[in-house]
Amino acid sequence: MAKDLEDSVAEHEKMIEEVLSAYPKKAQKKRAKHLSTAGAVEEGETEIVSKCDTVKSNVKSVPGVMTIRGCAYAGSKGVVWGPIKDLVHISHGPVGCGHYSWSQRRNYATGTTGVDNFVTFQFTTDFQEKDIVFGGDKKLEKSIDEINELFPLANGVTVQSECPIGLIGDDIEAVARKKKKDIGKTIVPVRCEGFRGVSQSLGHHIANDAVRDWVLEGEGSEYEATDYDVNIIGDYNIGGDAWSSRILLEEIGLNVVGSWSGDATLAEMENAPKAKLNLIHCYRSMNYICRHMEEKHGVPWMEYNFFGPSQIAASLRAIAAKFDKSVQDKAEAVIAKYQPLVDEVLAKYKPRLEGKKVMLYVGGLRPRHVVTAYHDLGMEIAGTGYEFAHGDDYKRTGEYIKEGTLIYDDVTGYELEKFIEQMRPDLVGSGIKEKYPVQKMGIPFRQMHSWDYSGPYHGYDGFAIFARDMDLAINNPVWAMFDAPWKKSA
């Protein structure tokens, strides 16, 4: 092992030990399993460059530690279902869940809001005490009738269960079946109560299962099927990501018949099983339905990564390889077409960003997927971790990050603060809850869930924005003004 690597591993171990020493014993023992350093790969291993699946993941958060995780409802309504624009998503239960998640995920969608696009709405059954006592099925039925009357162009309704639904024994499946018969539209009951599972992750899975059970047999839209039909899966169109991806896929000669679920319609969900290939971006949140479509409909799937030019080019080639030469030729042409843009972006931003250290803590795919985009800009990843990953995500992380990188799973507020304090990275990429504490410490920050109200970051067009944003975060003059001149040490 090289000397500096050895040093960094030893340093991380010491830092982890210090952080853990603050915990009471029981919590200490649990948290110790989630903190580690990316290790060396076994001999002969070629797929990964470091071993990251040594941390424990996808287990319950320790109470009282300020986990950054959300819940199953957030994973279903907030992530998977919420972006489908022509369905009305009812936050079924008390008012809060729908309120706090109202218009917060920036899943862009075209259409006329309130007429054929309902993404930026908060529909709720607003449970009162009597609904808890007597059950909410009747209220749900009536709500669906009211939606049908007031929003005639809504193509269906999903019922996103909040915690009380599963606890009071409501039968939302029966309501869904009955109302489907009554109004002739797709009604999807989703059992994504927030207490289920340990994070958003089970919510994704439950949401995928609901797609399988209540949507996939539908008719879809009428279009001329071709051998080049694909679906974009697990792209939620944050700031338009799915669009800056779609444009590339179309340029290489593919037809995106289903966009899941950013800017999606019900028809696009239903179209999916007829496609030739599923292209999955966020593996964590939608691998389940891809596996189902593979088994049931014979649609193969592959992962891809549209962050940063290296991965975009590699992904375009890998995708094209699944098709004929015409697509492969176009892929090469597209890569060549965008190369001048890439060169310009790198010429402008790389000198300003080279060598800067980044720490990441995000959700589904980004703690690994964005790594190469930073590398493309000459930046280094000092630490990374996931809110709700499973072992297979950590395994895949090894494809991207170097040995000696700090790894933290389901990190707590305390741990993250201490790690940042000690490592003093040049940039932290995480969420809104982490943004302001980190900035107070004088460290530049970008929200990497919402793209900090920017984006898209996917595709070549997105990479230019990504580079610009990292530059404006790191190189803003404000960071030099934190110390009052009369307080500066001599």
């Binding site: 009471p24 919590a27 320790v62 009282g64 530690v65 300020m66 819940c71 409802y73 957030a74 022509d86 008390p94 809060g96 869940c97 309120h99 706090y100 998640s101 109202w102 917060q104 259409g111 007429v115 930026t120 908060q122 529909f123 709720t124 607003d126 449970f127 009162q128 005490e129 009536k142 005639p152 162009l153 915690c163 606890l167 009071i168 927030g194 207490f195 289920r196 599972g197 009428e222 279009y223 338009g240 779609r246 995106v256 966009s259 319609t265 028809a267 402008k348 707590t412 507020g413 603060e417 809850k433 302001y436 504490p437 107070k440 004088g442 984006g455 924005i465 580079a467 934190f482 009052a484």
Partner: protein, 512 residues
Amino acid sequence: MPQSADKVLDHSKLFHEPEYKEMLENKRAKYENATPAPQVTEILDWTKSWDYREKNLAREALVINPAKACQPLGAVFAAAGYEGTMSFVHGSQGCVAYYRSHLSRHFKEPASAVSSSMTEDAAVFGGLVNMVDGLANTYALYQPKMIAVSTTCMAEVIGDDLNSFIIQAKEKESVPADFDVPFAHTPAFVGSHVDGYDNMQKGIISHFWKDAERKETDSINIIPGFDGFAVGNIRELNRILGEMGVTYTILSDVSDVYDTPSDGDFRMYDGGTKLDDVKAAVNAKVTVSMQEYCTKRTLEVCEKAGQATEVFHYPMGVQGTDEFLMKMSELSGKAIPDSLTKERGRLVDAMADSQSYLHGKTYAIYGDPDFVYSMARFVMETGGEPTHCLATNGGKEWKAKMEALLASSPFGAKAQVWAGKDLWHLRSILATEPTDMLIGNSYGKYLERDLGIPLIRLTFPIFDRHHHHRFPTWGYQGGLNVLVKILDTVLDKLDAETGTLGETDISFDLTR
């Protein structure tokens, strides 16, 4: 290719470039199974009709875009105003992520709170273990001076008993026996965030006052209530009462915790009401609530303790501030200083200077019950008409109070009060009976877009404009801030309407 390194286009411009427009049109035409444009237009027009309004207002079950949040948000906000206090919310963990995000998005500040992270096993067996372990972890990691416990609806539905759980946690030495762990049950299916604020204040005060022997002093307690402008307003309150020389204690002062400096240190806790001051607050002769609907249960505790109580409805504007100052003067025996009288004169002066632009303007106002009351009153002071007053979390009592207020002025004659209605109701109301302006929070931007009625952001939450909450809306100075925001909107609108070159710009006046 629209993108370039020289001039990077992000979402606001990129998707309006021809390549993307064509791509999106193609997507819509081929794969979305979209409704043809004429039918979309037809339905859009219908949603703005009287027919639609009647159907919309007849809704009995579905709630669409309500202007209210749930109880624990208010509880977390209230607890944040006490020295070194960590909120511990017992129940599912996703809720806490939501409260923290929500508060951070408004204040652009850290918002700390922890969860007991209950999952399916806790749903079956109860969350005692989560409480016991959780309190120990919070205490060890975040070293608070107090942990304020509230509940998510999950814990409420399964019936966890906070009092008993906290006693058991202390027996198990999660925290020292004498450590302050006040609590409040805050079911999300009862009331709204203003009730959660109330319950947590009640919980904290009851905790400190329960065994206290009260020796009445001349001090005055002030409870600010749930307020997105708390940072500016509480500081303004301090300034005003300081000038008057009043002895007072603010119960829950969030002004510093939601406005910490950037100097290299992250302060998880900053400022807040000192715990010793909360204890001593039992001796105050009177507790003044700045927002009645945030403090009904809390004031009962104060009255039980032997204190007098006084209530306001988020006092704003001339008369609201007059009444507040006179009441403080009466309670404290301190005169209102000339400096404040002069401030009053300056606000009135500004209103007189600008009255021609404000007289007869119509407004729709929505928000929490106390805010809407005061805002409507201030609007009437400027000669404006609060045509529609809406509070999703307002009830019958509030409606009656609003109607009495509106009846007190000729400018309220045409006003309608909408208790318990939501912002989709308001869309129908404004589509059929429009006003000149809309006063509310960031969610109002959808109404502004749909109906072309300019929005003035004067209440929580404000996500899409920065830092307004750092400036007060209370007091005469606050009144001036509110006045200027309204005036800017009126004059910007006038400029926009008269600003098309060669068409409408004959009255594009330099001086207005």
